[in-house]
Subunit: 427 residues, 2 copies
C-alpha cells in the first residue's frame, strides 16, 4: 500500500489514484453464462440438474430442502452463534421496519386527486454466495427486508453444501423454500423458472463473475428478472485525522482487504507520518491473518493519499464514491453534510465496518465500483414498488380540459385531445 501526497500528483496521477482496476474482460464469461441460461430456459430441470452435478458438485437427491431438513439444520446450529444471529436479526429488522412505505394523497387541482401507493413485489429470489466465506450475514441482509416488505413469495439459492447457520438465518427471516443451487445456473433457474424452481420477478444478492454476468443478462431480458443493483468488488475508503488510532484503522483496512484479491482499500490521511503509522500497523496485523494472502493481493493495488484539509478529503471521497466510508476524525458531523456518493458511512472510533457488515442494523448490500453515485443502499423499498392513482371529478376535468387539449394539440396527438373532448361535451 503506497503513500502518495495528493497535491504532488499530476492530474493524470490523481485520476489514476482514484481509478478502480478494470474488471476482467468478460467475453468468455458472457459466452459461458449465455449458454447456461439458454439451456436452462429450454430444457428446465434436465439442464439444471446437470449443471448442479458438474458445476456445484451436488450429489444429493433433491435440490430443494425439505421442511424436515430445514428444522434439523436449525437445531444443529451452536447456541452462541444462534444468539448472535438472533441479535443481528433484531437490529436489521428494527432498521428495515422503520423504512415504512410512504403513501401520499393530494388534490393537485380543484377536483383532481393524485396518490402514490406501493405494494410488495410478488416474488423475489435471494442469492447467497458460498465459496471461501459462507455468508450467513448475507442471508439476513437479503431476507429480512423481503419479510418486512411482505413479499408473498421468497426463495433462496446458495451453492451446496449450505451451512446450517445460513439455513437458520434464512428460515428465521421467513424464507420457506431453499435450494442447493449456486452460480449462473441458480440465477437462470430463478429468472425463468424450471419444474423444481419457481420463476421470480426480482433477484437480490452478490456473487462471483458468473453470477454477476447472469444477473446482468436476465435483467436485460423483459422475460427474465429485475435485479437489485449492478455488482463490483467490495471497497472501503477511510478518512482519518492524526488524532485517530492507527491500530483501529489498520484493522478496518484489513477487514476490507480480506474479502478478495480485487477488494479496494483507500486511506485518506492528513499527514504522511500518520499514514505511515497506519501502514506499520497493517504490516503487524497482516502477519496473523489466516486470509493473509488474499489481503496482501488487495493491498498491493491500494493507496494511502495524503491531503491538506478535511474538505479536500470529502471532495476525493465524493469523486471516488466508496461502498463503505469510515470517518475517524474529530468533529465528524461537520464533514457529514459535505459527503455524498457513499453506500454507507461509519462514524467514529467505535464503529468499524464489520459492525455494519453484521449487526448494526443497516444493510450490507451496497452499491460499489462507483455505482454509489446513483444507486442506493439496499432497503425495504427495493422489495416494494410504487405506482400512482388519479381521480378527477366532472368539475375537475371540465376546468383542466383546456390545459390537456392545448398540450395534446401542440404534440399533434388528436386522440389524446378527443378523450377529454368526448367527456366534456357531456358535462
Amino acid at each position: 500500500m503506497e503513500v502518495k501526497i495528493w497535491k504532488d500528483l499530476s492530474a493524470k496521477e490523481q485520476t489514476d489514484a482514484l481509478m478502480r482496476p478494470a474488471q476482467a474482460s468478460s467475453d468468455k464469461i458472457r459466452e459461458i453464462v449465455t449458454s447456461i441460461i439458454s439451456r436452462i430456459r429450454k430444457e428446465g430441470d434436465t439442464a439444471l440438474f446437470e449443471y448442479s452435478k458438474t458445476l456445484d458438485k451436488f450429489e444429493g437427491e433433491h435440490i430443494e430442502w425439505t421442511a424436515e431438513e430445514i428444522r434439523a439444520a436449525c437445531q444443529r446450529v451452536d447456541s452462541d452463534l444462534k444468539k448472535a444471529i438472533d441479535t443481528a436479526y433484531e437490529n436489521i429488522a428494527k432498521f428495515h421496519s422503520e423504512q415504512k412505505p410512504h403513501h401520499i394523497k393530494i388534490e393537485t387541482f380543484p377536483g383532481i386527486v393524485c396518490e402514490t401507493h406501493t405494494h410488495p413485489i410478488d416474488s423475489v429470489g435471494l442469492y447467497v454466495p458460498g465459496g471461501s466465506a459462507p455468508l450467513v450475514s448475507t442471508a439476513l441482509m437479503l431476507a429480512v427486508p423481503a419479510k418486512i416488505a411482505q413479499c408473498p413469495e421468497v426463495i433462496l439459492c446458495s451453492p451446496p453444501p449450505i451451512s446450517d447457520a445460513i439455513i437458520y438465518a434464512a428460515s428465521k427471516s421467513g424464507v420457506k423454500r431453499i435450494f442447493n443451487l449456486g452460480g449462473a445456473q441458480a440465477i437462470a433457474a430463478m429468472a425463468y423458472g424450471t419444474e423444481s424452481v419457481p420463476k421470480v420477478l426480482k433477484i437480490f444478492g452478490p456473487g462471483n463473475q458468473f453470477v454477476t454476468m447472469a444477473k446482468r443478462l436476465v435483467s436485460n431480458d423483459a422475460q427474465g428478472a429485475s435485479i437489485d443493483m449492478p455488482a463490483g468488488p467490495s471497497e472501503v475508503l477511510v478518512i482519518a485525522s492524526d488524532s485517530a488510532n492507527p491500530e483501529y484503522i489498520a484493522a478496518d483496512l484489513l477487514s476490507q482487504a480480506e474479502h478478495g484479491p480485487d477488494s479496494q482499500v483507500i486511506l485518506i490521511a492528513l499527514s504522511k507520518e500518520f499514514a505511515q503509522k497506519v501502514m506499520l500497523k497493517v504490516e503487524e496485523q497482516l502477519e496473523k491473518l489466516p486470509r493473509r494472502e488474499i489481503a496482501e493481493k488487495a493491498l498491493s493495488k491500494s493507496t494511502a493519499l495524503v491531503v491538506d484539509t478535511l474538505d479536500e478529503a470529502a471532495e476525493l471521497s465524493n469523486r471516488y464514491a466508496p461502498e463503505h466510508l469510515i470517518l475517524q476524525i474529530d468533529n465528524p458531523d461537520e464533514l457529514i453534510d459535505k459527503l455524498r456518493n457513499a453506500g454507507s458511512i461509519f462514524v467514529g472510533a467505535y464503529t468499524p465496518e464489520s459492525l455494519g457488515d453484521y449487526a448494526s442494523g443497516t444493510n450490507h448490500t451496497l452499491p460499489t465500483y462507483g455505482y454509489a453515485k446513483t444507486f442506493s443502499a439496499l432497503g425495504t423499498d427495493d422489495y416494494r414498488r410504487r405506482y400512482t392513482i388519479q381521480r378527477a371529478s366532472q368539475e375537475g376535468l371540465k376546468e383542466i380540459a383546456k390545459t390537456v387539449t392545448s398540450m395534446a394539440s401542440a404534440e399533434g396527438l388528436d386522440a389524446h385531445r378527443n378523450a377529454v373532448v368526448v367527456r366534456v361535451k357531456d358535462i
Copy 2:
C-alpha cells in the same frame, strides 16, 4: 380488435392473449449503436458533430442553445399554450414536491444509532424524443422532479429542430443547458461526455429503439451512466363494467393506439355485448383521426377480453401488468386494493389517460412491457439516492461485540472479527 371470451380460451390461448409482441430482434441495432457509442467515446465532438449532421440532419452552428436563443424561443410560445404548460407544471410540481425524501434515525441497539439519508444525484441528463409528436409534456415530466429533487446539474437533449414549447417547458423547469441532439448519439454524449456535452451520472427519458439500446448499453458499463428504467412500447388496459360509457372507453383506447403502431391496447369487459358496443365506437372515432393509420396498426394486434367477474378482471390485469390501467366500473375502491403491477391507475368516467399524460400531476414516465411488476412509476426519489449512516458508542460496541465476532468467525473472516477485538480491548 378482436373480442374473445376468456373462459372459452385454452390455457395457451389465454397466455397468448396477454402476451406482448416480441420486440424486434436487436442484433443489427446493437451493432449500430455500439459503434456510435464507441466512436463518440473515443473521438468526442468530432464524431458527435458528424452524427449530428448525418443522423439528426442538424445544420446549425452550435449544438447547445445559448441563453439568448432560449429566451427568444420562450417568447415565441403562444400564450394559450404557455398557460396550459404553466398549469401542468403547477400540478406536476405539487405532486412531486409531496414526494419528500424520508430520512430515518433509530437506536437499533443500546448505543448504536442508524440513519438513512438521501442526496440528489449530482448530474442528470434528460432525453425528450422528437419525431412525429414533439413531446413538450415529457420535458415537464423529466425536468420538474429533477428540479424538486435539487439535482445540481440538469441537461436536456432533444432531436432538432426542438419546438419552442419544449424549450419553454424545460426552461421553466430549471433546465439551463439544452442540446440539439437526438438518438443514440445524444445518449452516448451524455453518458461519456464530449468537449461540448458534459457527462452525467443518470439518464432519463423515452426514445426509439436506438435510444433504448443506447441507454441499455451505457447502463451496462460502470463508466457509462445509470438509467431511469427499461423501455418498451406504450400500453393501456381498461377494465369496464356494462354501466360505463362506450364512447369514453373507445376514446381512451384510441388515445393509446395513436402513440405508435406497436402500442398495446387491452379492454376487459364483463359482457360481449358491451365489448362490441365499444368496438363500434372505436370504428366511428377512428375515421376522424389524423393518426388513423398508426392507431389501426396498433389495434390490429389488440384484444377485448370478456370475463365473468371484476375479480377475474383484476387477476388478468395483475398478470399483464399494464403501464396504464383505466377503471370504469361502479365501485372502483372495492377493486383497487386487489390491483397490483400497474404503472398508474385512472379511476372513474372523468379520468382519461390523457389527463395523466399531461396535467393531473402524476408522472407519465411509467414502466411498460411487463416491467410494472418490479419497476416503479417515475418519481422524485429516482433523482435522489439513499445511503445509511451508523454510529456506535464505546458501550454500544462493547455490548454487541460478541454478536459480530461470532458471526465473523462463522464466516471465516478473521480481520472482520479483529476490527472489533482491537477496539474492545481498549474499552
